[in-house]
């Protein structure tokens, strides 16, 4: 039997397999390159880049909850110029497409980020972050209203030839409405879900565990919610869906693909097991082999309801 095909097409990019890191959990790639060869990944998704350096939120920024992790990092990053100058040369050494997550405070900032990054060698696609719950300006404000979401995507679409992926927040009444608006505005794929807003309280001190009071919840705790969102969105749009939210194992990844995701992203699990993504890729290969499936694309949306 020939080796099963793991490659998928997302937004005009051919990924050798459907597994990539979730933005924000993988730094700019260097941190995990001592654990495995980044060439094994389907794509490399880097931490959100903002126009100017962003200091991030005051600590504590993390709180562990039942099978979950609350964070309020606040998009800490060295800014566009440092990213291009100091982070891209490293990322260009790898074969998988580099997807850069961009976050703006204003529409103009998204556009400027997109324009500048379009000229940078090695940037394969942009993930437009309209879903960060931890910044005061921009971020999720663009992702909770279909008109605002469409506005950002339309503006970015006009200024970049790169494929664009809209990263969606689950903190909305109807995520399919935002996904459709982003699709109509010309984005090439959607990725979901970003973190769910949440909080945790230290009862002895009667204070929130996060200095920012609220944060975004990730990890296994959110997987069923994420899976449901992916299932709904995959049926509502024609563009590919990148599914994420609590994926730890190949079985988790398969659930997302059966629910309609063409690719998956792994985030919080990597903190516990730095090689989680590599194990998931192997697990997918093994599943295909065991089930006599030649092409992983056959599984996308193949849930029998």
């Amino acid at each position: 039997m020939p080796l099963p095909n793991l490659s998928v097409n997302i937004a005009g990019l051919r990924l050798q397999n459907p597994v990539m890191p979730a933005s924000g959990t993988f730094g700019f790639g260097e941190e995990y390159s001592r654990f495995f060869d980044l060439n094994l990944l389907g794509a490399i998704v880097v931490k959100a880049v903002t126009l100017k350096p962003a200091p991030g939120n005051p600590p504590p920024r993390l709180a562990e909850t039942a099978s979950g992790l609350l964070n309020s990092i606040g998009l800490q990053n060295p800014g566009l110029e440092v990213f291009i100058r100091e982070k891209m040369p490293f990322l260009r050494r790898f074969k998988p497409p580099v997807i850069v997550n961009i976050a703006g405070k204003t529409l103009e900032e998204y556009v400027e980020l997109a324009e500048r990054l379009s000229e940078v060698e090695g940037v394969a696609a942009l993930e437009v972050n309209i879903s960060c719950p931890n910044v005061k300006e921009g971020g999720v404000a663009f992702g909770v209203d279909p008109k605002m979401a469409a506005g950002v995507i339309t503006a970015v679409r006009r200024r970049t030839p790169l494929p664009i992926i809209a990263k969606l927040t689950p903190n909305v009444t109807d995520i399919t409405e935002i996904a459709r608006a982003a699709e109509d505005a010309g984005c090439d794929a959607v990725s979901l879900i970003n973190t769910l807003q949440g909080m945790a309280i230290d009862v002895e001190r009667r204070r929130p565990l996060l200095a920012n009071v609220v944060g975004g919840l990730s990890g296994p705790a959110i997987k069923p919610v994420a899976l449901y969102a992916v299932w709904r969105v995959a049926r509502a749009v024609k563009i590919p869906v990148i599914g994420m939210g609590g994926i730890r194992t190949a079985t988790d990844a398969l659930e997302f693909m059966l629910a309609g995701a063409r690719a998956v992203a792994v985030g919080t699990a990597t903190f516990t097991r730095p090689t989680a993504m590599v194990e998931i890729i192997e697990g997918l290969r093994e599943y295909l082999h065991r089930n006599n499936i030649n092409d992983i694309n056959e599984l996308v949306g193949a849930i029998k309801v």
Binding site: G24, T25, G27, F35, P59, P60, R61, N71, F271
Partner: protein, 264 residues
């Protein structure tokens, strides 16, 4: 691929040495050889029942000959509770040694070491290394009460001068260890002060040292996720070279920082 960072270590012992405080010995020959005082290990916790993040613990001591690394921890939550339940003979998944440790003075000189409670964790290893370098040292060990003066006997066995402080006066000086330090600095005239303990204690130490123009190196604790600098979760506010404020990762820029670098 991992450049010696990923390890599976066999737990050799895991003993409660004070109320809720445990000393765990793990067989990790490579770590024992490479770890420097102040570095930490990132331990995978909660296998099975519940998903948990790793827990960062300072290297408490190493024995290069036996290949054992010891960790000292206080049970404070789910992760440390899980650790406390692990029996000898169990394998544990460890990343490390990680982070930047204390800078070791070449040789000679005088150092004061100040520990508050379980803050002795990284300072024991440091004390042994400093002794080996002929540094004259004095140890200030503080705790809430007598039976929380962890590893006092082990410190005594090192043959170093020790002063003890307890908040309730049940042993040694009655009051915070920082008050003891304050009294001692003028007569000890140390070249450097190393400290680890609760944040308010460290802030007080930093203030004292600034007043006397004595350099200090403090080991900080912060909630941590990746431990590798990727997630930016374990931020600490520091003075930037330009004079402003910025955040650094405790995991990769620390856990040891210059006292005057931190914005308390």
């Amino acid at each position: 691929m991992s450049a010696g960072v990923e390890h599976i270590g066999l737990i050799c012992s895991n003993v409660e040495i004070g109320p809720g405080a445990y000393l765990m010995e793990i067989s990790l020959p490579e770590v024992a050889l490479r770890a420097r005082p102040g570095q930490f290990l990132h331990l995978r916790c909660g296998e099975g029942m519940e998903w948990l993040l790793r827990r960062p613990l300072s290297v408490h001591d190493v024995d290069k000959k036996s290949g054992r690394v010891s960790l000292l921890y206080q049970v404070v939550g789910k992760g440390t509770s899980w650790l406390a339940g692990q029996k000898p003979g169990i394998n544990i998944d460890v990343l490390g040694p990680l982070g930047r440790g204390f800078s070791l003075p070449p040789c000679g000189g005088k150092a004061l070491l100040v520990a508050g409670g379980v803050g002795i964790a990284p300072l024991f290893f440091l004390a042994r290394e400093l002794l080996g370098r002929g540094v004259i040292l004095k140890f200030f060990l503080g705790a809430r009460t007598r039976n929380l003066l962890l590893r006092l006997e082990a410190l005594q066995r090192l043959g170093i001068e020790i002063e003890v402080a307890t908040d309730d006066g049940s042993a040694g000086f009655s009051g915070p260890v920082t008050a003891l330090l304050e009294k001692s600095i003028p007569k000890e005239k140390p070249d450097i002060v190393f400290a680890c303990g609760p944040r308010p204690m460290l802030a007080a130490c930093a203030g004292l040292l600034a007043g006397h123009h004595i350099p200090g190196e403090f080991s900080l604790e912060e909630r941590m996720a990746c431990g590798l600098g990727a997630c930016r979760g374990c931020a600490v506010p520091v003075r930037s070279p330009e004079g402003g404020a910025t955040y650094e990762n405790v995991c990769t820029c620390g856990p040891v920082f210059a006292a005057q670098e931190i914005i308390w």
